[in-house]
Symmetry: C2
Subunit: 407 residues, 2 copies
């Protein structure tokens, strides 16, 4: 990875401005861990035991060369492209974009599902819904017309566990859909060894509702709307009870309470919708965006850069991260966090927008969302790739210790 | 279940007419079983070993009271109902129907996925695609605008097995989508203990493209567009290698070759699209339809009857079944076949239509599809329920032994 040494002055200025104020935002988030006993389950019940995959996982698509081959070669849509302004988009980015038979309309659609990565069933449902909807938001689509729910209960659940856990997952999924102004009509429920939750999000839109992910311009800045580090926080928390060796290492720098706080923050971050970010992309003239999920910041930045019409390069100078998870990342280089390779689930949007619009976007975002966004880099002329500068700046979120407010 | 003794004369006449001719249809279907060795796999490789659920399974939704509760209570759609002719439809029937923000348009959408029920990966892919598309066809929707593919490879596959099997499943799924005039844009691929295949089918339509499943009239007939018995054929074939006791019982009435033929027919039936049936529903003025899947003929007939605007009763007099599977059904009453409870996968459409249109529908269907459809019953005034007559007539399909043609 090449490095870029000059850090644009303006980037620092705007992000510093924010850093001084964002910890005043109130958080009305769950401040306690899920307690199985309160729900009549055994104290040792852990939702994350109902999959063999632990924590936030990078996507495993190795060994499926033919999967993407099939997607990429499939003819796109059944109708004719009736508007010259948008090209069909296949699986490469967040959602597919299908020109419809009905003049000027497009179907924007995505599906995503996964296994338990947190132990709180309600939060797991919310995260799954926020995650699938995020693929629409990354295209600037703010209205979802329908959600289908994909659900599997575990064959290993006792009847009691199933009757407690599955309704909570469904409730979380549904509450998040309602919060997004959409609803769940249809779905499929099966029995599986591993608990599964996810869905399909669909929107039928006019061209002007979409911000195609290919319009980045040299001189744009890169904005990120959620902090990174969900994988690190979730895994570190899991190690406390499952991996004594790694837990001992974590405890050399963090208290258990600090790990728990990071985990609660991660859950809250993953459960937040990217809808306000999508709305503000329109208000402030964003040029392109993607959401940060399984491939990590760099994986998605590279993917977005590759898709640009202009020959640009994304330069990343700042990495906002859940407080203290930067330290854990340095201790466990296997996450690849400093290289931008640590997986995220339901991460923020990475938005390319004109430099002179960024401060307005960030101010409006904070007002609407109650949370900060950060300028994390810049768009320059280049070979449609992405880079992290050598001495990337890690921004702890929140920056101050707050006992009663998470940030 | 009440019984009805009178068998309308016309029903018999039309179905007899067909019975004398349908065996002349040529079949270009796979006439051999999947041979793992030909694909470089061990002879004992069986795709159906990559799930614990064996054969065609009835849906397991017991113990999920809250799932349907949630679906049923979800607000429907985000837009206003702009056409008075159609009510939104939730999860009760085959697809959801969402009025869109764009005047006069509706989103018709469905998702379905399952585990391997046959050992041929390519055919498994075709069956999964035909199955999910069928939910659109049941509503008279003939054009699918997009398919998302839902796929899980088994963590228990060797790399070699995965690289042979997954591309075949994908190819089958894709070929079926292309045959349906649609395409696959998007999807999700994961690792799971059990192999999973299915998808989402979406169509954006004007009201006139939909045949709402609530218009059955007293005096209508019931037409079925595929023979029943897929569960029996698939399970009987599986018993030959996995259940010596049941296999011995089957062998008292059938040769292994006959079981194999029934299994090949079942695969072919499940892989056939219901698209021609949907097209002809429009041509011949069908009043309502559903597709026959996991709840069996009666489960779906009851569900459809419950949904009717008119107070009607569905009376079933005939049950076309894959040749010789009626005999197996009598030997294993646990299938509940004679009560219409045997599960089907990707079964035919059950169509309500005016009696005087039925012969035209059936003739056109045979010409387009190369396979017969049957009048299996009638619609009378009643309490929105369905019944099978006491001495229901089992129609073997095909009716003649044909060594070189399957039917």
């Amino acid at each position: 990875m090449a490095t870029v040494s000059s850090e644009p002055e303006e980037v620092v200025r705007v992000s510093e401005l924010l850093e001084t104020s964002y910890d005043v935002n109130l958080l009305h988030i769950q401040s306690n861990l899920f307690d199985p006993v309160q729900h009549g389950l055994k104290p040792e019940f852990r939702l994350t035991n109902f999959t063999d995959l632990k924590g936030v996982q990078p996507p495993d698509i190795n060994g499926f060369p033919n999967v993407h081959h099939v997607h990429a070669n499939a003819p796109v849509g059944t109708g004719n492209l009736t508007s010259a302004s948008l090209s069909p988009i296949g699986i490469g980015l967040d959602s597919c974009l299908i020109p419809l038979r009905h003049l000027g309309l497009y179907l924007v659609q995505t599906t995503d599902f996964f296994y338990p990565l947190v132990d709180d069933p309600y939060m797991m449902g919310k995260i799954a819904a926020a995650n699938v909807l995020s693929d629409l938001y990354a295209m600037g689509v703010t209205e979802c017309d329908n959600v289908l729910m994909i659900l599997a209960s575990s064959q290993k659940f006792t009847a009691e566990e199933r009757d407690v856990v599955m309704p909570l997952i469904i409730q979380g999924f549904r509450d998040c859909a309602v919060e997004a102004g959409t609803s769940i009509n249809g779905g499929q429920t099966v029995i599986n060894p591993w608990v599964t939750i996810g869905g399909t999000a669909s929107s039928i839109v006019r061209a002007e509702e979409i911000i195609p992910p290919d319009g980045a311009q040299p001189g744009d800045v890169l904005i990120l709307t959620k902090p990174l580090g969900t994988q690190i926080a979730v895994n570190a928390h899991q190690w406390l009870t499952t991996n004594p060796e790694k837990a001992a290492k974590v405890r050399t720098i963090l208290t258990d309470e600090e790990v728990k706080q990071a985990y609660l923050r991660a859950m809250h971050i993953m459960a937040r919708l990217n809808r306000n970010a999508a709305k503000l992309m329109h208000v402030h003239g964003a040029h392109a965006a993607t959401d940060i999920t399984g491939f990590g910041l760099m994986g998605h930045a590279e993917n977005l850069a590759r898709n640009q019409k202009c020959a640009v390069m994304f330069i990343i100078q700042n990495m906002p991260v859940i407080a203290k998870m930067g330290q854990v990342a340095r201790m466990f280089p296997g996450f690849g966090f400093l290289q931008g390779r640590s997986a995220e689930t339901s991460g923020g949007l990475l938005v390319c927008m004109p430099r002179n619009k960024a401060a307005g976007f960030i101010a409006d975002y904070k007002r609407l969302e109650g949370h900060p966004a950060w300028i994390i880099g810049s768009v320059e002329r280049g070979d449609r790739n992405a880079k992290i500068i050598d001495k990337v700046r890690i921004i702890d979120v929140p920056s101050h210790d707050t006992a009663d407010k998470l940030w």
